[in-house]
Amino acid sequence: MEKIKVNFTVNKKPVTVEVNPNERLLDVLRDTLRLTGTKEGCAVGECGACTVILDGKAVTSCLVPIGAVEGREVVTIEGVGADGKLDPIQEAILENHALQCGFCTPGFVMSAKALLDENPDATKEEIRRAISGNLCRCTGYEQLTIAIYEAAQQLKEAQKAQI
């Protein structure tokens, strides 16, 4: 098992890693790049705690062999928000008390962000569907749905203001 070299971008920064070929994107994010905001829950694609955005789509990083991200763009929880400010989705989650232990939160934020980047007009039903691959065991989903919906409205208003 020879190490492989993989070039990709994480949160818009180009990185090159030399890692074992049997590592997963999740391992490399956490252990090599020390981006520990992405959490490992079930490790079999069922809980969504390790969700990141890969080329614009939400994926569970526990199921992505590291070699598969060559040349691709990865966004993690560390890459949302800008200029030292939280993303509106994160703000709305705080505002709505949509977390307790917080372990699932980064995954939810990434699923929500992938949705709103693609469809800022998402309905609550579409939000529920977009976060259906994320498990939360303490807070439940209602506050999260409301928070993401509110964030969507804010984002739309901010966009309008820009125009």
Binding site: M1, P21, N22, L54, A58, T60, V64, S111
Partner: protein, 291 residues
């Protein structure tokens, strides 16, 4: 932790070369939504795995959904999300899009591919029954070139498909359904998201001018050793007018066929009424679409 190498191939022929070189100890990875889980769970099948061969860099060769005359060609690397969103599928074979939309979660659908789903050969794969109902063909690429066969024959047994060591699945080919045909897919899982089918069924119905059924397909999932239609249940519908009674008869025929083929098992007490109910539901919902 299993140790294995990771390769990419630049061309379809190179995929076959690498597969042949490793003599069955190279495994193709596409979305990774099955194999990465199996490796993680130390599935004995992969103890001797020498390498994962990643197909996802062959998107231009293998990721497409296109119409060609009366046929639809679906590249093996098409993701469940691709199927769910395809206008071509929505227009001609909507139950395949619906089946794809019920796979796993958004994250799984964004990565998981139809080729992987079929080659993993789980009898519970959601896209399997619509493809069986459509009598899909598979195109297989190997060192000697390409060959085509029926999906039904391609699926040998749970976990096993008809691929030689140098071969991989390239695409699915299905005939468009006749104008006026409606389709439905119904799935029974333990919860709404991330549920693996306990049972599912795909149906196609079409009526003639007099309102009698002129075309029917019923392909139940998870109940046979290898996927199949229930032709006796289809025949029973032909020439009759849609009615609740008729759907019940068809459901009963599917469950009778299940018992004829697999015998009475520990799960029969549950599966018998459940399969009858989902067949009835699917036929009734399809008939409603005809209006």
């Amino acid at each position: 932790m299993f140790k294995y190498d990771y390769y990419r191939a630049g061309t379809l022929d190179e995929v076959s070369e690498i597969l042949a070189r490793h003599q069955g100890k190279a495994r193709i990875v596409a979305g990774g939504t099955d194999i990465m889980v199996q490796i993680r769970e130390k599935d004995k099948r992969w103890e001797d795995l020498e390498c994962l061969l990643d197909l996802t860099f062959l998107e231009s060769e293998l990721r497409y959904i296109r119409e060609e005359g009366n046929q639809i060609h679906i590249g093996a690397l098409s993701t469940h999300t691709d199927l769910e969103r395809s206008e071509i599928i929505k227009k001609w074979i909507p139950f395949l899009g619906k089946a794809a939309s019920t796979v796993g979660s958004p994250q799984i659908r964004n990565r998981g591919t139809i080729g992987g789903s079929i080659c993993n050969a789980s009898p519970a794969a959601d896209p399997l029954t619509p493809l069986i109902a459509l009598e899909a063909k598979v195109v297989i690429h190997g060192k000697a070139g390409e060959r085509e066969m029926g999906l039904k024959e391609f699926y040998l047994s749970q976990g096993k498909v008809d691929l030689n060591e140098d071969e991989f699945l390239k695409e699915f080919v299905v005939e468009k359904l006749p104008e006026g045909a409606v389709t439905e897919f119904v799935k029974l899982g333990r919860r709404k998201a991330l549920a693996i089918s306990r049972l599912n069924v795909s149906v196609v119905l079409m009526l003639d001018k007099e309102g009698s059924i002129s075309y029917a397909r019923i392909a139940p999932g998870c109940i046979f050793r290898t996927p199949d239609r229930v032709e006796t249940a289809e025949e029973l519908l032909i020439g009759k007018k849609p009615s609740e009674e008729l759907w019940k008869e068809a459901g009963k025929e599917v469950s009778d066929e299940m018992i004829r083929r697999t015998g009475i098992r520990w799960s029969t007490e549950y599966k018998q009424p459940a399969v009858e109910a989902i067949v009835e539901d699917a036929l009734a919902q399809a008939a409603e679409m005809i209006g």
